[in-house]
Symmetry: C2
Subunit: 457 residues, 2 copies
């Protein structure tokens, strides 16, 4: 479809684009392509070039996922990567406008250190940082932090909520105009505008103030990507942008309405919460060429390795899955899954609805890992983006190139110009901060009106 | 003195220089000078320029101290600063050779996260990172991390030792040649060369492996700066470079011999432990001009604020110190001081030996905070550096300019050429890594000879 004449959802607004950058691409087997640098995941210049490409395409932001654990089998795919806030910092000083989002865990960080690090990157980037708040599933991660197993899903979200409270209090512990820098009087800050936060909660006790003045954006843009019940309620309360995996337009629209309504019920303007479904675009000059690229990637997946990964996700022995049969009829319920609950259900539903064999399911997941893969021409990719945007399923998209850098290059060079021509996407940056790009307000300081509770002696 | 003809300690070797960069300078009142930018502490470009100046001067490294707490009174001096590993990353991509050292606390970090972050900066800098290991004193810091008070000094050091064990195990969890990147076979790493560490200790349980391959230097250069008994024993075992405060040549020589001997008794080659006393050089065209600059800085110190800071350090009420009298006869013993023990004793000894009034002591500390301030011409600064180096009190110096950037500019432009002319300091970098600059070996991998204990499934 092309641009419509009658007003619909999305009219009068433009969409937002985030580039999800997974070293050599979102596809499990991308590193095996002739074009891929198998050392790219530890090469900062690779990430900087990707960020510069996204900036050339006027993307709102780039995003690095993360977990404090070695994910998957390093024998089978690039293992580990540079720590995301380190990547963002290196990118920040080599770009001007692009927003910079990184995942960091509320289960395996201290709020004081995390608040300080993100505020530091906000200063370095002059207001371009975002924080994807995750609770981190998995016993493997837990065992890197003195625990035997991952804490309960609900408990992790309760801790995450308190973590965000502490972090935002710390970001409010300095008023914006606290620094007066009066050399003659020898007064650097107005000490009445620098406060201890005195937080005493269930999970954290933190005195403050932060050892850093209030940063350009005050808070990083708060991002969230869990779509379980706990995840959606958390997002409705705290998130300003949500990354989500949605396979169909119907599911996308339903999720969009649900989350916006949850935000409204909590007294928020739903427009202060931007929803970005993932799309894994595989772009060819023709549809046939795109499908061939997709098929080439499929062939590079090791089915035995992928079968093991899938069985682990389901909490089943590997023998329970047969490559050329459908999923077993008896599967755990979402309640029994401790991590990535909604992704689990999405995968099961996808397999059941399309009656996929395990081998077929693996192929679908290898490309998208639950996100929607779309193979086609640039025009077709632009069409589906426009369709979802106008149908009220998305405020924008989390673009997850299957192969990097080529997949991002193609998107920027071929899809972005079409979206711009249709008036759906910016042709130049009009703002300088990530909050600006997403049309989000700079947070007020909760303490600014209070009686001083100064730290000064 | 000038260069000697007869062999002595230091002959045949050249010295090492580290630049200790405290925003606008090491002096408490530096920000009040007309030349100082009072916002420099939150301006990344300021730090990058300083690093580039140090690199122009062929320094081995730059160093950023840190504590996860707002130090001092933000009303009286610039409060807080950018997180040091963020600063190092921004500097790394805008310099080529200079080493990059940051403080991070073993009491208020998780080993997994810290090991990953420093390894990431080592990749980004291509082998130039160093870690100053601190245990972090002070109840204020403890109260940002859920504790009521700082843990006992000895306990902090025991935890620090185990922390370093865990971190170095994680840095060994990948062998250097683990990545094979065989695209045809679909084998990214030799999974036998990626190991869980399975650490179970008194303070930490960490499974590993690290989510990052072994970095260019394998380990950051391990730096330490505590000079208490616990601190010296820790340094003798783990440190590769030591920053220390020494007021007199006799004290410096004695400390140097003591620490090298402790290292030798632990079976180490003492030359693998570099000792760098601090020096706060105040450089003038003439000695008189240098002393005037020093006096100008003294005048800008607020005596009442400094008196309070000193009383806090001594654990005394402020009334116990009178500005124009010497220190009280009765003072706590070092055993009763929970943080910065050796610095406490140094300050007391300095005041007693020179019979300083509190006001005079404050002036001395405001410039050096316990480190040795030396005001003179560039030639005189070079002389004292050479004297200490040849006398066996130093392998190099921790240069702590009182005012930045001017103090570093002067040192680089005036003192470094003299040291180079005397054959005491490099005229060009000959190495590319921080280990290379300091003449330190790249650590062997403790697991490389072991039977595989692979993580791969």
């Amino acid at each position: 479809m092309t641009s419509a004449q009658t007003p619909r959802p999305g009219d009068g607004k433009t969409l937002h684009l985030n580039a999800f950058l997974m070293s050599v691409g979102h596809h499990e087997a991308a590193w095996r392509l002739p074009e891929s640098d198998p050392h790219a995941h530890i090469d900062i210049d690779h990430y900087v070039r990707l960020a510069q490409t996204a900036e050339r395409g006027k993307f709102d932001s780039i995003f690095f996922a993360d977990s404090p654990v070695l994910m998957g089998d390093p024998g089978r795919r690039p293992g580990g990567k540079l720590e995301p806030t380190v990547i963002l910092t290196a990118v920040a000083v080599q770009t001007d406008r692009i927003g910079l989002i990184a995942t960091a865990s509320t289960s395996y960080n201290d709020p004081y250190n995390l608040a300080r690090r993100f505020a530091s990157v906000d200063f370095v980037s002059k207001g371009r940082v975002g924080w994807n708040i995750v609770t981190t599933a998995g016993a493997d991660a837990a065992r890197n932090f003195g625990l035997d197993d991952t804490p309960d899903h609900r408990l992790r979200y309760e801790k995450a909520a308190e973590f965000v409270e502490v972090a935002t209090k710390l970001w409010d512990s300095w008023e914006d105009d606290a620094i007066v820098a009066d050399k003659a009087l020898g007064v650097h800050a107005d000490a009445n505008k620098v406060r201890k936060i005195g937080h005493r909660g269930e999970f954290f006790s933190v005195d403050g103030p932060l050892n850093l003045p209030r940063s350009p954006q005050a808070y990083p843009v708060l991002v969230q990507a869990g779509s379980s019940e706990n995840g959606k309620n958390f997002a409705a309360r705290y998130a300003e942008a949500v990354f989500t995996a949605q396979q169909t337009l119907a599911d996308g629209t339903s999720f969009y309405r649900d989350l916006k309504e949850r935000a409204r019920l909590l007294g928020r303007d739903p427009d202060t919460l931007k929803i970005l479904p993932g799309i894994v675009p595989v772009i060819g000059d023709t549809e046939v060429e795109a499908r061939e690229l997709d098929a080439e990637l499929e062939r590079l997946i090791s089915p035995e390795y992928a079968r093991k990964q899938l069985a682990d996700r389901f909490g089943l022995p590997v023998e329970a899955l047969e490559l050329d049969r459908e999923l077993p009829e008896e599967l755990p319920s979402e309640d029994d899954i401790q991590g990535a609950k909604s992704r689990y259900t999405l995968i099961v539903n996808l397999a059941r609805t399309e009656r996929l064999t395990v081998r077929q399911l693996i192929a679908r997941l290898g490309g998208g890992r639950g996100h929607r893969t779309f193979a086609g021409t640039a025009e077709q990719v632009a069409d589906t983006i426009e369709e979802w945007f106008r149908a009220g399923a998305a405020d924008g998209f989390n673009v997850m190139p299957a192969v990097l850098p080529s997949g991002l290059d193609r998107f920027v060079d071929r899809v972005v110009p079409i979206l711009q021509e249709r008036g759906l996407f910016r042709t130049e940056y009009t703002e300088t901060t990530l909050r600006g790009h997403y049309g989000l307000a700079r947070p007020e300081n909760r303490f600014a009106a209070e009686t001083p509770l100064a730290v000064a002696q």
